[in-house]
Symmetry: C2
Subunit: 342 residues, 2 copies
Amino acid sequence: MLPRDYGVAAGGKCRDENSVTETTIEMTSLMCAHVSSAVKIRVTTRVHIPSMSSSTSSSLTAAQMTAEDQVQQIELLTSTDDDHGGVVVEMDEPKDSATFVSILRASIAHWKQLRKKGIWIKLPIHLVSLVEAVVKEGFWYHHAEPKYLMLVYWIPDTANTIPANATHRVGVGALVVNEKREVLVVQEKSGHFQGTGAWKFPTGVVDQGEDICVAAVREVKEETGVDSEFVEALAFRQSHMSFFEKSDLFFVCLLRPLSSDIQIQEIEIEAAQWMPFDEYATQPFMEKYELLKHINDILLAKFDGQYSGFSAVSTTSNFSEKTSYLYLNAGSLESINKGLNN
Amino acid sequence: MLPRDYGVAAGGKCRDENSVTETTIEMTSLMCAHVSSAVKIRVTTRVHIPSMSSSTSSSLTAAQMTAEDQVQQIELLTSTDDDHGGVVVEMDEPKDSATFVSILRASIAHWKQLRKKGIWIKLPIHLVSLVEAVVKEGFWYHHAEPKYLMLVYWIPDTANTIPANATHRVGVGALVVNEKREVLVVQEKSGHFQGTGAWKFPTGVVDQGEDICVAAVREVKEETGVDSEFVEALAFRQSHMSFFEKSDLFFVCLLRPLSSDIQIQEIEIEAAQWMPFDEYATQPFMEKYELLKHINDILLAKFDGQYSGFSAVSTTSNFSEKTSYLYLNAGSLESINKGLNN
C-alpha cells in the first residue's frame, strides 16, 4: 500500500488525511490557482487520488477517482503561473524518461482542468534526454540558448497567442569624433574589410540585456582603449536574412571622446588612429557603400549644426518598474531638454 | 567483404577504384573544400578507408588507414560550407541513433582534418530523437524555432566566434493622425488596458523578415481597416527582460491615413475611433505612463513643425545585394531629400 503522505505546499491546506473527496481536490486546485495568480510562487502539488482499477486508463489524473478506490500519490511538475493564464516549468533534477512521461501527462491533465493556456517547459542542456519525451506529448520548440531549450504547448482550442521569439540581433557602429573633427577609425584582423587597407569605425553586437548607448561606448573602449560618452543615434538600418533567418538592426551612434590615447585590442584590431574626417570620408572604398555615404552626409550636416539624431532619455516603465532608454529627437522638446539639463 | 562502391559527388573525381591511398583521400578532401568554398553546394563525401584491425579505436575516420587493411565505406553527413570557415548540416532523413552517432563522429573527425571551425547542425523537430546524441558529442544549443533546433560545435582551440543569437523582439506603435488632428485609437479585448476604458494607438509585433515601416501600416490595417502610409519613426524605446531573458525594441511610428472608414478586427479589438488629439492626450491614465507623455509632447512639437523623426530610405547592401531600409533624419540632408522627392 502506498504511504498516505500528502499536503499542499502553498497555503498548508488540505492536510486532513481523512477528508479525501473529489470536492477537496477541486478546492485544492482552485486555491492553488488563486494563490499562484496573486503572487508568483512555486506550487508543488501533491494530490490524493484513488488508485485506478486495472480496467481504466493508464494515465492518472487529479480529477479521476471513485470513492471506494485506494488512495495513491501522484506527483506533478513544479510550476509557476505567468501573466497570461499559462504556467512555466523550470526543470533541473534529472529524471528517467518513463517516470517523467507519467508526471508530465498527469501535469498536463491537471493544467487542462485548471484551464491553463500556454505551458512552458525550460529544459537545461543537461536534461537533453527528456527533450524527445516532451516533444512527443505535443510540445514544440519556442527558443533555445546555449544552455537550455524552451518548449511550449497550447492547451485551448482557440488560436494560440504564444509570444513570438526574438527576431533581431542588434549591432552598433560608433562614430567617435573629437573637436578637431577627427574620427576614431580601426583596421580589423577579420571580417569583410580585413586586409583591404580600409579604415572603418568600430562596430559590434549588443550583448543580451545591454543598452544600445552602453554597447557603443563599450565597443570603442574594448577596440581602441578610448573612453567616450554617447551623444545620439544618428540613424539605424534594418536588414533581413543576415544570419540564418534572423534580422539585424544596426544603430549608427555618435560618441564624444573623453580620452585620446589609443590602446588597441590585439585579438581583433590590426591598427587604430584618429583620422581627419575629410581623409576618412574620401577613402576610395566608401564609394561602393550607400550606408557609409549616408553616414558621411549626416556627419557633414552635424558639423554644420544641421542634424539632430535621437538622444537617450531614461524612463521608467509602469509595466515593470524597470528603467529603459527612450531615444528621441530631444532638440526641439522643451520638456525633455529640461530633463536632460538637470 | 564490404562492397567497393565509392565516389565523390562533387566533381566526380576519385572514381578510380584501384587508387585508394592516403594521398588520394587527402586530395579528395581538399578538392571538396575548394569547390564548396567557391560555391555553396551539397557535398556527400564517401571516402574509402581501410578497415581497422580490432585493436585500434572504434571511431573510424577518413585519416586513419594502413596500406594492408581492407577497404571499407564510411558515410559522412551532407554539409554546406558557410562564409566563416565552418559547415552547416541540414538533417532531414530519419536515422537510428547508433548509426547516426557513428556517422556524426566520422564527420567531426573529417571536418577537423579539413580545419573547419563552426559545425552547425539543424535538426527538424521530427528528428528530435537525435538531439541527445548530438549534445553528447559536445554540441550546444544555438537557437530554436517551432519546427527546428540549431546546434553548434566549435572545433578550434581558440575562443569561438560563433555569432550571437537574436536578442530582441521588435514592436511598433502606430500614430495615425489625420488633417483634423484626430488620432486613430482602439480599445483592445486583451492585454494591459483591456476593460479599463483607455483608448490607445494600435501596436503590434514585427513579423520575422518584416520591415518596421511595413509592420506599422499592416497593424493599422488589420486592427482598424484604415489604409495608411509610413511617415517617420518618432522615437524608439529599448527594454530588457521583457519576456524570458530577451529584450524589446519598440518603434513609435507616425503614419498618414489614406482612408478613414473603420472596420475593426473583432478578435482583438473592442472598438476604434478617430479621437481629437486633445481628448486623446488628456485621458487620465496617460499621467502614469512616461512613454505616452513623451509621445504626446512629440506630437505637439510635430504639429508645430518643430519635430523631425527618422524617415525610411531604401538602400542596397553591398554585402548581400538585398534592399534594406535606413532610418534617418532626412529633413536636413539635401542629398537624401533629392532622393526622397524623386
